[in-house]
Amino acid sequence: MVGFVGKRVLHGLVSIVGASILIFVISRLSGDPIVLMLPVEAPPHVIEAMRRNLGLDLPLWRQYLIFAGHALTGDFGMSYRWQTPALDLVLDRLPATIELAVAGLVFSVCLAVPLGVLSAVHRGSWIDTVGKGFAMLGQAMPGFWVGLLLILVFSIRLNWLPAFGHGGISHLIMPAIALGWYPVAAQTRIVRSAMLDVLESDYIRMGRALGAPERVLVWKYAFRNAAVPLVTMLGVYFASMLGGAFVIEVIFAWPGLGRTVVEAVFSRDFPVVQAGVLFTSILFVTCNLLVDLSYGLIDPRIRRDG
């Protein structure tokens, strides 16, 4: 087990270093940040002085080594735009995005699991049709549109929920639904097809023959095995929610990291982009590691084999 974890951690570290190099290079391909930092009428000598001050006149490999050296000590440099430490900005915004992503994931799983299981158990019935229809709707309605509809109905028409901002549970409900909406469809399909496989397996038939209650068979024995592919995907979904929360954050004025990083991309604020992407990568790798470790808890056969 220790060897397994060690190997996964090593893989994760390599991924993080790779991500840092990739984002470092790609962000610099987007153009010169100085033109966005200084007023258009700034004379050339001022532009050059600024470039020197920021070390942007150095060869790319030297810029990366300096960045990596400082990053190891927790110094990601000063944001070009906000003129505050980039790490502070990222860490300040990260909890709000994690909160949103967790809520979105909880919403999607809470909806997808019963829908998927019921669709599989009642295959071909109206419940299955409703489940599949819901899954199709989920994929056809983008989150930003769902978000705007929710605001229209629950804020403007009914005045039940706040239209924007970060605060208590009431602020979280609509952004979480909008963010979790899209994955519901895919998760429902995963659960349904996995359940269909498991429900036709020998041990479930044997359970039925022995007179085990259907509810116990479905939820205790079948679902536990069928959950493995869903759990595998949860890490990916969570990570994609972290990265994809941007649109939802804009719509609901949610003060998260996604909005901060995307705006930093547009303003070529390299330190914020690098810090933001690196932390998202770390979260992504950590999620996947936790998913890998969780297999053993769900399916003892994997634990034995591992």
């Binding site: 033109v35 009428e41 915004r93 605001i151 719509i251």
Partner: protein, 522 residues
């Protein structure tokens, strides 16, 4: 030896500015929402117009536009320029009795400190604007002089540039401490900030201007970038004041019961530029440029594409120094445009790249550019349209950089700011020809010797009355020859507030978002 000539200028004190306390104690709380967020809370570090949204609430300048956009002495009780045509000295007498939010009195030392920070390129992104200053002299606690190496009209045009920053406090808490707890002399003092979320302010009880001050105690500025969400927040009562009512909803807002709206021109000026400096470009010919100006029905674009949220102007807009009501934009005249093209040697027109900004820096700016290009096509100037995001767009427009791409066609552009200031700085950037290393024409695609000479003369003119006359002269020459691009319109922004709010809009700082006077009806 140069004859020193005293020349007293502009020493007007706004009537009533020092009137006895009239305002009641501020009370209550108000929540407002902005579409965009300022980044820094330190006036020496501001980098874009949006930064004024917050800075303008907490800090103040020596001079500022008054309620009706007129230049008004603010922290300066009076000021004058001696020897303005050779080696000018700007002498400022500070208003007495002004204190910072921490209780420190405002003195000349604070402005000397502000000047030192503003000229330091490691602190400020506008250090080049101090290049003509030779030295800063403190005469006494409330008088200082700025000695110039040579005349610098930009200093006058930009409200004497300096913002009051408390030297003693800054030195005590350091740069980081100041960033976390900024202190100014403005009507609002800092309480807290959550980036991307909100700024909390509190009315400053010790504010010097007893007549023009907030009447509400607590102000929360929420940041809501999405138009429909901001509108929803207003309609549900979560906020009582918003900026940037979406153009398509302005008419609806005007009919909402219990809601007041105000449409005002923003601090941006838009224009269509072309490489008239290139001898081989069709736009080198004045008749082609005039054809462009006649070819586009800007009024129709404003009405249909911008939902009326734009104001046409000819070079200098209403409210700006040097505005000339007699100078009119080119009328829409397709026949005239085709005739001019024919006379210029292009009877069948020509093809050209046309660069459009796709990032919504102004409402519907992308659609506006597309409409302009379509009108040009109708007279024979056939556009190969290329959309650019903000970074690529600003890179394309800037001169003096090395490497491609080259701005070789029609460019939908804007010059930003200078409302209600005067146009000297932007004209130096795009009407004066590009001069490498000198700072002239940093985004200019024009080369005209007479325009260069006039812009340089404006730069060295520090007498306000002379500046006005010169601006009018340059504007007419610029308009007649379609130099520095063809000016199109200034965006109009609409503010909305519930009628329980008493709001008197003061333009700039903050381009109409400054809450100099706001309160709740009792």
């Amino acid at each position: 030896m140069l004859r020193m000539r005293a020349h007293a200028l502009a020493a007007v004190t706004l009537a009533g500015m020092t009137a006895p306390a009239l305002a009641q104690d501020a009370k209550g709380s108000l929540t407002v929402a902005f579409a965009a967020e300022g980044t820094v809370l330190d006036p020496a570090k501001y980098s874009a117009g949006v930064d004024h949204y917050f800075i303008g609430q907490m800090y103040e300048q020596l001079v500022r536009p008054g309620l009706n956009l007129e230049p008004t002495n603010w922290l300066a009780e009076s000021w004058k320029v001696t020897d303005p045509e050779t080696k000018p000295v700007l002498e400022v007498a500070l208003r007495k009795g002004v204190t910072f939010h921490n209780g420190d009195p405002l003195t000349s030392e604070d402005f000397e400190f502000a000047y030192q920070r503003l000229r330091d390129p490691k602190v400020s992104r506008w250090s080049h604007l101090q290049a003509n200053v030779e030295r800063f002299e403190i005469v006494d606690d409330h008088t200082f002089r700025i000695h110039f190496k040579e005349p610098d009209g930009d200093y006058i045009a930009q409200w004497l540039q300096l913002w009051a920053v408390p030297k003693k406090y800054f030195e005590r808490v350091g740069e980081e401490g100041f960033t976390k707890a900024p202190v100014g002399t403005g009507p609002w003092k800092y309480v807290s900030r959550s980036v991307k979320e909100e700024l909390k302010l509190e009315a400053y009880d010790g504010y010097w201007n007893k007549q023009h001050r907030p009447k509400v105690k607590n102000l929360t500025i929420k940041i809501i970038p999405e138009d429909l969400t901001r509108v929803a927040a207003f309609k549900t009562g979560a906020v009582d004041w918003i900026d940037g009512v979406p153009p398509s909803m302005v008419e609806e807002f005007k009919t909402l019961p219990g809601v007041k709206t105000l449409s005002v021109v923003s601090g941006n000026n838009l224009y269509i530029d072309f490489p008239s400096y290139k001898p081989d470009s069709p736009f080198n010919k004045v008749k082609v440029r005039q054809a462009v100006a006649h070819a586009v029905d800007m009024d129709a674009i404003i009405k249909t594409v911008l939902f009326g949220q734009g104001e046409r102007y000819a070079e200098v807009g209403k409210g700006a120094t040097g505005y000339d009501p007699d100078l009119k934009p080119y009328p829409y005249d397709v026949r005239k445009a085709r005739e001019l093209l024919r006379e210029a040697g292009y009877p069948s027109g020509f093809e050209t790249p046309c660069y459009n900004l796709t990032t919504p820096r102004e409402p519907n700016v992308k659609e506006m550019g597309e409409a302009v290009f379509a009108y040009l096509g109708a007279v024979g100037i056939r556009c190969r349209v290329q959309g650019l995001e903000y970074g690529a767009w600003i890179n394309l427009g800037r001169r003096g950089r090395s490497g491609p791409p080259e701005m070789d066609g029609v460019l939908s552009w804007m010059w930003s700011q200078n409302l209600p200031g005067d146009p000297a700085t932007p004209w130096g950037g795009h009407l004066h020809s590009f001069v490498a290393g000198k700072g002239w024409g940093s985004y200019s695609y024009t080369a005209d010797e007479k325009a260069d000479a006039m812009v340089e003369q404006l730069k060295s003119t520090m007498v306000p009355e002379k500046r006005v006359a010169l601006i009018k002269e340059i504007a007419r020459y610029k308009r007649d020859n379609v130099l520095g691009g063809w000016t199109t319109y200034r965006p109009v922004i609409t503010l909305a507030w519930r009628d329980k709010v008493e709001f008197t809009p003061w333009a700039y700082p903050g381009y109409w978002r400054g809450f100099q006077e706001i309160g709740l009806k009792q």
